[in-house]
Symmetry: C2
Subunit: 423 residues, 2 copies
């Protein structure tokens, strides 16, 4: 029997889970100060929640299977569809907008490459029922809050933004219809991965002329808002004015230094309809830290009426790589732990009493009734990194005392038991 | 498309997740004060981790499937085998004993009955490398600590204990061998469910005589330690003396009032080898709250050397039912949230500044830039249960002030902005 976890899955030993918990606590704290409520959907969902026609990579990489009742199920690849399902089910239209967050595990069945896993945890923040760009600004501010409280400087990351409406306006010039739009977005999202030549081939096979393809390539290379004017008219393009409005608002939010326009950002999920954004380290040494955007039509895919939604997801893997490389994770230790050592069976009762008392006042205590030699206990306590040993031994008990050994500064002190039980 | 979660699975809306988080925080706090470190294994495991020959119900109810690479996988039905796998993999024999805990989701594919789910969360505490009954006492003390800090009185629950060694000693009298022992344990565990008649039939079909079967039934009805003497000799039964030793230790631990001997407690998992215990509400109105025991031979099943292990699991469902029925869960509210309301676009910048400031000092803030009428905002804030509205309006701003409306006591107060930004 193999001792390895399933291919692509991770075990978390205490030192690793400690780091992850520290990260998740930051996710939760940022979510709280931005007024988000926590929810949770099950990791297992009906497969059809994720089946889309546009060719989303996520659909092709489902970790799906048939259960014993012949249901087609999938371990979720993302959490947004579950959120939409939960919101639709509870008909909460009358108390919108709502702000919800979750941290959940997601699975993808993809070819294994170095550093790629088949599962990760994802922090999701979503605002439901908010039409204005204020929602996007709040979410991006939350990401900045998270990254800076984790210890990154504002210069170490960049949030690239774009709008699908802008791309839509541009493609409409070439009579590329709404029907094909989602599919083209997915193709454009892959250009970095597949390269320009492959991208050209794909569009040629769709029947698009080479001049138009070259125009598209020029367009998605825009990194400066002013250059959009070379392709689109400010007054007639809703996407263009959305971008301008967003940068105005970003100025009000004092986050202009952290964001950058990038026309190549389109996101690989077909359901986005408006502003979209991806977060990268400034040196571009890692994969995307987070990504999100507006998806006002997801509800209608599920048979509901349209409700504006904006959200993002941040996985635990890339940000943890960065935090590890920059040495920003706190070190794991068991310094809060105290070991109570009974010298012999005669000291058992008093050791139990001392342990009880310490636990009652919230201390973390390991009770040791092994009656081993003290030097073995000291060596064990050292190995495990516990802070103190309380030695309950006959000599000291005669004087109504116990000896406390601090394993870090090597000091020792006697404590009177009356004081101990009365303090 | 259905809006329901997969059959037997649960969604957690914010008010529900709040309760679960409150429960989990108690799990974590008890684990910490007993000196346990947190670990996590993946919810997806190789199926063969759970395949056992003894007829464990858990093996027949696996939520298993073939993945796209034809691996036989299963959503874990329990966490103990993953723990054993992780411990074995890391060869940590030289720093034993260790105390580990985890809270994780477990899945079973079973026939749906009222109140039964196909998933639950389970709190596991395990002590690895501790031979003495001190390990059992520590775990049972931890369960008592948890239940009382949740708000139950010591009279409201009972921990039923037994030892598989005792049953083994008893069955050996009738030449029932070790080989069959595990299978018989599983049968005995089911007697309450299937009834005495069905139990008799099962043992008859195994070739056991009716007199012996009646003796077994009499034996497992023992609830008083003294009565064991009618069946076994104190001096020759290791199981009997183990029980006596455990009750001695329980006296030292001052937990005698919470425990009860019960010879019918055998647990449905074949890997237990020693002390076993199950926790029930005193009125026996609910299913078991928790269960566990010693399983010193699990490692050898996985090809490792034997290491003593004791552990228990407590699911979230039964304890939550009890806490709900006894009204012990705190009520969910959003009283920590403050809404900052910009009266018009002119007050946008100041509203953003106030929001930033509040978040920087750790307050939970929703920024509202919808510029709706104030009465709509008040009604929305009420509906969502937020504590305060900070109204950023032109009249007040002229006086360098904002108005704070408390939604709970209906008071209002003006705050000077210089004071606000400097405090």
């Amino acid at each position: 029997m193999t001792l390895e976890p399933v291919k692509g899955m991770r075990d978390f030993y205490p030192d690793e889970l400690y780091k992850r918990n520290w990260l998740f606590d930051h996710f939760k704290k940022t979510s709280n100060i931005f007024g988000f409520e926590e929810y949770e959907a099950c990791v297992l969902e009906h497969e059809d929640l994720y089946i889309r026609k546009a060719g989303d990579e996520i659909t092709r990489q489902l970790y799906n299977f048939s259960d014993k009742g012949n249901r087609r199920l999938s371990l979720r690849p993302e959490i947004t569809p579950s959120l939409a399902r939960m919101i639709l089910k509870k008909n909460i239209n009358n108390s919108l907008p709502i702000r919800w967050f979750t941290i959940g595990q997601c699975f993808r069945y993809e070819k294994m490459q170095t550093g790629r896993k088949r599962e990760h945890y994802q922090w999701n923040m979503d605002i439901v029922g908010e039409k204005s760009l204020n929602a996007e600004s709040e979410l991006i501010s939350a990401i900045i809050n998270l990254l800076t409280t984790l210890g990154l400087s504002r210069k170490e990351f960049i949030i690239k933004v774009n709008s699908r409406k802008l791309l839509n306006d541009f493609l409409l010039k070439y009579n590329i219809s709404d029907k094909d739009f989602e599919r083209y977005c997915i193709l454009i999202d892959k250009i970095d991965k597949i390269g320009e030549d492959e991208f050209k081939k794909s569009l040629l096979s769709e029947g698009i002329g080479i001049e138009i393809i070259n125009e598209i390539i020029s367009f998605i290379k825009i990194k400066n808002i002013c250059e959009i004017e070379n392709f689109l008219d400010k007054s007639s393009s809703g996407g263009f004015s959305e971008i301008l409005n967003f940068f105005e608002l970003a100025k009000d939010y004092s986050i202009l230094d952290c964001i950058q326009f990038d026309a190549s950002i389109v996101r690989g999920l077909s359901y986005y309809t408006g502003m979209i954004f991806e977060v990268y380290d400034s040196k571009n040494e890692y994969r995307a830290i987070a990504g999100g955007g507006r998806y006002d039509k997801l509800f209608s895919l599920f048979g509901g009426t349209e409700i504006p939604m904006v959200g993002f997801g941040m996985g635990d893997i890339v940000i943890s790589e960065i935090l590890n490389d920059k040495n920003l994770f706190p070190e794991y230790n068991q310094k809060k732990n105290i070991l109570v050592f009974a010298y012999s069976e005669k000291e058992k009762n008093m050791s139990i009493k001392i342990t009880d008392r310490l636990r009652n006042i919230g201390k973390n205590v390991i009770l040791d009734l092994s009656y081993k030699k003290l030097d073995k206990i000291i060596s064990y306590t050292n190995k495990r990194g516990y802070k103190e040993i309380i030695i309950v031994a006959p000599e000291e008990l005669k004087r109504n005392q116990v000896l406390i050994k601090n394993m870090y500064d090597r000091t020792e002190r006697n404590i009177n038991l009356d004081d101990f039980f009365n303090c």
